[in-house]
Symmetry: C2
Subunit: 396 residues, 2 copies
């Protein structure tokens, strides 16, 4: 079947997470992505993992997660010859993506002004931590730092404990999706106008946007939402919304008529709490009173009883159990791709379903410079020229 972004050429200078996830999303939809990496070490993410364990003994899960559907061109950006090669690619490219600290890539000769003068139709997307100017523009813009700054860490967890970052790099992933949103909007406009443009995305404003609902309340009330002293699941929401213990695990209970839950738990003494004046103010006490009951149920019995009366609820799973969940298995979300050194690698496949142009995994993540020769040949270099670049350490 065709792909939605077939024919779109992406020249990808990005590394770590924000940029690579964005270009993977474009690649899943059929865009042709050339990933530019340093000869030798390549993308810094190739050197990172969790608990010092590597897939197939050598490969980074972080890198394998965000770099499928790309080809790797390993080339030294500081060499004069790199300009010849990359300008030639940029001449017919549609999209540039980069997430160096502000100004770094422009100083190497690959800024928006450089590439748009070669190709005015180019869409040039930059990602940063805080934006490209202002008092923090030169600070390191790592994911957790932005979670701390923008309020999400202070809104997560318990009041008697510390502010709590999300246990995954959501700031980066959100930044990636904002890149895709900007790039695809710009591509659509270019189809109509003929003009490229510059797109800028940053982690800080992306995280604020994803907390708009909380921030609209806070900014207009001029009052913060404080973490609960229990496992109520959101600093602004009343009981019973939250996480509850069972005899063998944990369940979530979302907004549902409290009376239904009281009946399921056969706990009529809770009825006195079920008045608007108490549900938020006494959220922690109510949580404790409910938890005293839920502890007596197994997870499966409690879920079955609650789902039977359409109480919004669910099980809490760790990753391994989530990947094996019946609904996840039914949906075919976990897929496997082949990597040239790591072998078969399990990953989360493309998640948006499209009837006419379904996104797919066409190739696993590349090794550093795996496609250098192939790409250089496509742009007109002959074997002797490629050998020469290789001998001088420009490409690998």
């Amino acid at each position: 079947m065709p792909k939605a972004l077939e024919g779109v050429k992406v020249l990808d200078f990005s590394h770590l997470l924000q940029g690579p996830f964005a270009t993977q999303l474009l690649g899943d939809m059929g865009a042709s992505v050339i990933k530019v990496e340093r000869p030798g070490q390549g993308d810094l993410f190739r050197t990172m993992t969790f608990k010092n364990k590597w897939i197939g003994g050598t490969e980074s899960p972080n890198f394998l997660a965000w770099n499928r559907n790309k080809r790797s061109l390993a080339i030294d950006l500081k060499s004069p010859e790199a300009k010849d090669v990359l300008y030639e690619i940029a001449r017919t490219a549609d999209v540039i993506v980069q997430n160096f600290r502000p100004g770094v890539l422009a100083r190497l000769g690959f800024g928006y002004d450089d590439l748009s003068s070669i190709n005015p139709r180019i869409i040039y997307c930059s990602g940063s931590g805080y934006g490209e100017d202002g008092p923090y523009s030169t600070r390191p813009g790592q994911d957790m730092l932005l979670q701390g700054l923008t309020g999400i860490a202070a809104a997560t967890g318990r009041a008697d404990g510390p502010p709590t970052p999300v246990g995954a790099g959501f700031a980066d992933q959100i930044g990636a999706m904002n890149m895709v949103y900007g790039i695809l909007s710009a591509l659509y406009w270019r189809e109509r106008s003929g003009h490229g443009q510059e797109v800028k995305v940053d982690l800080m404003s992306g995280l604020l946007q994803h907390q708009n609902q909380e921030l609209v309340w806070v900014m207009n009330m001029q009052e913060n939402l404080d973490r609960p002293n229990s496992s109520i699941g959101h600093p602004g929401v009343e009981a019973p919304f939250g996480v509850y213990p069972t005899s063998d695990g944990w369940v979530t209970i979302a907004m549902s008529p409290f009376q239904k839950l009281i009946e399921v738990l056969e706990a009529p003494e809770l009825t006195a709490y079920n008045v608007p004046a108490r549900l938020y103010v006494e959220r922690d006490e109510i949580w404790k009173a409910i938890a005293a009951h839920t502890r007596n149920w197994t997870t499966s019995a409690l879920l079955e009883a609650m789902l039977a009366v359409d109480i919004w609820c669910g099980e809490i799973k760790q990753h391994l159990q989530a990947a094996e969940d019946p609904q996840v298995v039914h949906r075919g979300i976990v897929q496997t791709y082949r990597h040239s050194t790591a072998g078969d690698v399990k990953v989360i496949g493309p998640v948006v379903q499209m009837s006419a142009t379904p996104p797919t995994i066409e190739r696993g993540a590349p090794t550093v410079g795996q496609h250098t020769d192939e790409i250089l040949r496509e742009y007109g270099l002959d074997n002797a020229a490629i050998r020469d670049l290789r001998n001088r350490g420009v490409v690998s």
Copy 2:
């Protein structure tokens, strides 16, 4: 200045969060969005807030956060006349968005088959909790439930405490961005092929996708990443990465050479921990040893000392302080729009910067049916016909 999605017409049947945020993102880029609401009460989100406080006394922050740049058409979807009106709009619309439970809107006559037979160029995007088939397809698909199911709650917080949901509706926001990703990809393809298609997005797979890096490790190692017993900031990352107390607040410290931190803290006794074999395994003990030092610093003194040697770090702020942060203020991220009953409303403005087609807020969120007459007139109804529909309760 022009807008990237100028001329794109969106017929929006969505409510609550996932769909409305998606159509707001399209509206920010210049799409014309008609929001279809129930006469009277309107979108269910209009009845929800935090702590039972309302903006301007009556308006929901939840609704105001996700519904700018739209016009509201209040019409009873169950009335036969609604079909005439909405089919007429669908004839020239580009995009349909909806997030009813699977099958509900099709039973009312507004499914993909209905609308694509009227307009084969239509892009029809549905959002659900778990996907439209499989064992959980009829379960309620609320944000926190999916956080629980997909592993993010179990990966957040401390091992001696409960699994911890993120303190904002990130599952919904991620779902919204996946909608935009699918819709814009489909729009681009339609420019080239002439064909519309159906796009399906769900909260479950979106959250899994945003944990791909953790899941790639876990699924290929067949081992879970366990929460730390301290404020280390991610279940898979070694010390010192985490949240630390100061004498007057909290700071984040991300991946940086530990030796630099030891020097800043003047804590040479920590050097013994700085070996690969200890940094993950003894993460909780190391956290405590570092925290014993950071507690003696003020937040500003510690940040200044760490930033001077380029340690990746930041302050932890609550929402009110985040909104007033110098970098947030510099960037102009907080904007104000006018609402017809709530007055001036502070919100997070569009966050993607585009040089040729900057997204903007052109109108505040609508009241229920605020634009019913205007829209009906645009689609050819005269005043008498509109009065008749209104008298029979079809529109309001």
